[in-house]
């Protein structure tokens, strides 16, 4: 007959909670009782089964979901970023030339303003610079902006799309658990002007007529510049496609 004391000693021994005196009492119990030995073996077998049940992996996006609801931003790996400009634009505007050109224009405007007695407060980018990155850098304010945020099982995209006339600037933070492709779709008339991206995205940039694709992994901040030579604001579709080819998308419209 297994009494309560025997059960307590067996459980305590199995859990490593017995004192030395209790362990001695337990050893004597096993020596003296076949029934106690059989019972203890059953307990050990159960213990082994429970310990072998294993660990279940949490969903891949769980951490991002938690952090998006607690901290101000999702977990993100800060990385160095690279300015990427398409070749045709680079030919016209190497950064050094572009800054020199901008400085020249600014100096010219100031001189002209002084000579002509104009108010020199800048209000809009010079027409000559429209369509370039510098147009955005010189633009005073975005005329409208749309917040972007969508969650996927593999991660999160958040940020904003700002419009100033026919120019759009996308500031996006993309967080994914694994490799993914960030795709921006827009009309054929729209021109890709440039991109500031994490270093590891630059070798996979692919700009075609109506879309920009780049490979993404982990967490990264992107700034993308687009413009419409026809002078009109334009809608943009933002997609993130995971390894299985499943894409999650959000469309942004400049509105009235």
């Amino acid at each position: 007959m297994i009494d309560d004391r025997a059960v307590e000693l067996m459980n305590g021994e199995m859990d490593g909670e017995n004192s030395p005196a209790e362990s001695r009492e337990f050893a004597q119990l096993l020596e003296s009782s076949d029934e106690a030995r059989a019972y203890y073996e059953e307990l050990l077998a159960l213990d082994g089964r429970l310990q072998g049940a294993g660990t279940v992996k949490p969903p891949r996006d769980l951490r991002a979901r938690i952090l998006s609801k607690t901290t101000r931003a999702p977990a993100r790996r800060r990385s160095r970023r690279t300015l990427l400009i398409p070749d045709n634009l680079l030919e016209a505007f190497s950064p050094r030339l572009a800054y020199a050109f901008a400085a020249g224009v600014a100096a010219g405007l100031v001189a002209f303003a002084l000579l002509a007695g104009w108010d020199a407060t800048p209000t809009a980018p010079a027409d000559a610079l429209r369509g370039s990155l510098l147009a955005w850098e010189l633009a005073s304010e975005a005329e409208s902006a749309r917040e972007v945020q969508f969650e996927m099982p593999e991660g999160l995209v958040e940020g904003r799309v700002s419009y100033a006339g026919p120019h759009a600037r996308l500031d996006l933070t993309v967080t994914t658990d694994g490799p993914a492709e960030l795709v921006l779709r827009y009309g054929e008339q729209v021109r890709f002007d440039g991109l500031v991206a994490p270093d590891d995205a630059d070798s996979h940039l692919n700009v075609v007529e109506s879309e920009t694709r780049l490979m993404h992994s982990g967490s990264g901040d992107y700034v993308v510049y687009l413009s419409n030579p026809r002078g009109e604001p334009f809608p943009i579709e933002i997609l993130v496609c995971g390894e299985g080819g499943v894409c999650y998308a959000e469309s942004v419209d400049p509105g009235p």
Binding site: A53, V56, K57, I66, T70, T71
Partner: protein, 179 residues
Amino acid sequence: MRADDDKKLAARAARGDERAFEAIVERYETVIYNAAYRIARDPDDAADITQSVFIKVYRKLGTYDPSYKLFSWLYRIAVNEAINHVKKHGRMVAVEEELGRSSESPATDVARLERSDRIQQALMELTIEHRVVVVLKYFLELSYAEISDVAGIPEKTVKSRLFSARQRLKRILTDQERQ
């Protein structure tokens, strides 16, 4: 020491250091998810419980008393959250749903999950009080004293619940094998 490290992380997170909070989430996400899963049984419920736990932890960090172990505090919140969830909801899912969630090779997965599923089914036949003690013992690997602290019950009650739960589990698993 991990406990000291935990306390430093909690203190930094309470001062608004988001990196420290992220580190706490990273450290305890899996264990809390597993405890929630073993108590609630459903993977989606377990994810919801885990999320609620960390949101509560984030909001209550200012009230955390560093004279206690951080994991005890976290687990206490997790157990309460899981119990409340089970009392409100409570559902069952098939083993197939788990297959995509395990991290091992497919063959090992199937064998382990079949075993795991039998254990899980047996666990679900226990009362919630017994199940919590078993989960704290086997899936969070706590001592009697730690279980007592987390579950808010005397050590004697921990022992008696654990012994009774084992008795019951033995019977349930034996019955399962006979079927």
